[in-house]
């Protein structure tokens, strides 16, 4: 059947109901659609406008997003810093990790995750003075990351074990400064017998006392005993390195420093101690290289600056030596031990090695 002719014929048939637009009645409907609509009505319907409220909400949201995007770069930088911190931490680069976490904490000072990460890495770098403030911010807060919770708990345990000094021990340390050596030793021994649970920090400070008064064999024995059960006492390892070095056991001293560096490849104090061991062993070039490494990692410690000055001296570089000595004298930490050491070595009055 020819549809065009058929419709034409029906046009004159008053009883025929030919298709019209369901919206306006226009007989010119668009082909192909089940719903009979003319082109204009279909266009009106598919271009149905969004209500004014929806449009206004859309505009408001766009404005809010634009305003918020102003802060996005700083948030992104903090996210990048945190990721870099995690990578550095996994590689044992705790100084780098700590620097990155400090950036995150600067941007998000209330973030428990950032504070916890900084707490752990500050401890690893021996930044014990910062731990109290960080711990105060973390106390009572919930950390959702279980592995981070473990790290924080382990850090707190170590901090208590190796750095916490009871009032009684603190009292003994104060008295020991102005006391006869034998009396000081017996006071310590009495304290340690009474407080066997406080063995870690008490033993460490007892070891320091023995080392300071020149009882090297006794100091070695005390620290060796303490490190046997607590090898992760890195300050104890470095003290042991100094004792071994004084006794001429340079390989053992180096091993102690390397043990610490295996855990934290950026521990400036370990490099500093190692540099002194190497210099005492007349490995002057090596000692200078190691002292420079320590200084690169930490320019804010007077002891590290002193070591570098001594290294320059033994490498016959008096210009750099004097520059370091000048830098040392600007520190306000009252480090008379290293000042006397340097002046004695440089003037030749003291035979350090």
């Amino acid at each position: 059947m020819n549809n065009d002719n058929w419709y034409q014929e029906q046009f004159f048939n008053d009883e025929f109901d030919y298709p019209r637009c369901e919206n306006c009645g226009n007989p010119k409907i668009e082909a192909g659609y089940e719903m009979k609509l003319c082109k204009e009505c279909r266009e009106k319907l598919y271009r149905k406008p969004y209500p004014i409220l929806i449009k206004l909400l859309g505009v408001a949201i766009v404005a809010v997003v634009i305003i918020a995007l102003i802060h996005f770069p700083s948030s992104l930088n903090a996210g990048i810093a945190y990721e870099r911190g995690l990578q550095a931490e996994s590689e044992g680069k705790y100084v780098t990790a700590m620097k990155e976490y400090k950036k995150v904490v600067k941007r998000f000072p209330d973030s428990t995750i950032a504070l916890a990460s900084l707490f752990v890495t500050s401890y690893q770098n021996g930044e014990i003075d910062d731990l109290n403030a960080l711990y105060d911010k973390l106390e009572g807060e919930e950390i959702t990351d279980d592995s981070l919770v473990d790290k924080v708990n382990r850090t707190v345990d170590c901090w208590n074990k190796y750095y916490y000094i009871s009032d009684e021990l603190d009292n003994i340390l104060q008295k020991a400064k102005n006391m006869d050596n034998d009396k000081a030793i017996s006071l310590f021994q009495e304290y340690m017998n009474k407080n066997p649970e406080d063995i870690s920090s008490a033993t460490y400070y007892y070891g320091i006392l023995l080392y300071d008064i020149g009882e090297l064999q006794k100091a070695k024995k005390v620290i060796e005993g303490a490190l046997k059960s607590n090898p992760d006492n890195y300050e104890g390892q470095l003290l042991q390195a100094e004792i071994y070095s004084e006794m001429g056991e340079y390989q053992k001293a180096t091993d102690c420093c390397n043990y610490v560096l295996k855990h934290n490849v950026e521990y400036s104090y370990a490099y500093d101690t190692l540099a002194r061991v190497e210099l005492m062993n007349h490995e002057d070039k090596k000692g200078l290289k190691t002292a420079r490494k320590a200084f690169q990692l930490n320019q804010k410690d007077s002891g590290i600056v002193a070591t570098l000055a001594i290294a320059y001296h033994y490498n016959h570089n008096t210009r750099e030596r004097d520059a370091m000595l000048k830098k040392f004298k600007k520190f306000k930490d009252d480090n008379t031990y290293d000042l006397d050491l340097m002046e004695g070595i440089f003037s030749g009055d003291y035979q350090w090695r």
Binding site: Y33, K48, P51, I54, V65, H71, F72
Partner: protein, 177 residues
């Protein structure tokens, strides 16, 4: 109990419903398919709906059905971007950032086409006039939509919303870290 929670979640994330229906409307406009009625949001199931005519081509029905997936995902990701790192990664943030996360996640959560959309697509695709290629493409899409609907009982839509919010920031951090 679950249906009450589901009801409350839909109320709380109402912007996602509005954007979902607006996205259907947008794709109707692009494909020149008449919109007969649209309800952007109401306090009953379905929380939003759009009624359109049957398109002249089956593929248009597919596009209209899956349009919200793309629109909601993209808009949700953009809106959540400024707040994603502070709120989701570092669990901190100001009021504006929390607002943007709520809005972005709400919108992204409603990306999945509904079962109604799936039925619509299925009906038009499995018409005898529809080509075999479209049938092959559309069948797994409908399967995924049903999977998404089941997954929303297990909070898959919320997980998807959060993942969308974090995707771009995480990508940028990975590139530049």
């Amino acid at each position: 109990m679950l249906s009450i929670i589901g009801y409350l979640v839909s109320i709380i994330t109402f912007p996602g419903v509005i954007v979902h229906e607006a996205a259907h409307q947008l794709f109707c406009r692009i494909n020149k398919v008449a919109v007969l009625k649209v309800c952007y949001f109401q306090f009953q199931n379905p929380f939003g709906y759009l009624i359109h005519e049957k398109p002249d081509k089956a593929y248009k029905n597919v596009l209209i059905g899956i349009g919200p997936f793309f629109v909601n995902t993209i808009i949700g990701a953009i809106i959540a971007l400024p707040g994603a790192i502070p709120v989701i990664e570092f669990e901190t943030g100001n009021l504006l950032e929390y607002f943007l996360i709520w809005l972005g996640v709400s919108i992204a959560m409603h990306s999945f086409p509904s079962i109604g959309d799936a039925k619509n697509i299925w009906k038009s695709v499995w018409n005898k006039e529809t080509g075999i290629l479209l049938k092959i493409i559309a069948t797994p899409i409908v399967g995924l939509i049903y999977l998404g609907a089941v997954g929303s009982i297990l909070w898959l839509d919320l997980i998807y919303g959060i993942a969308v919010a974090m995707f771009v920031p995480n990508l940028l951090v990975m590139i530049f870290a």
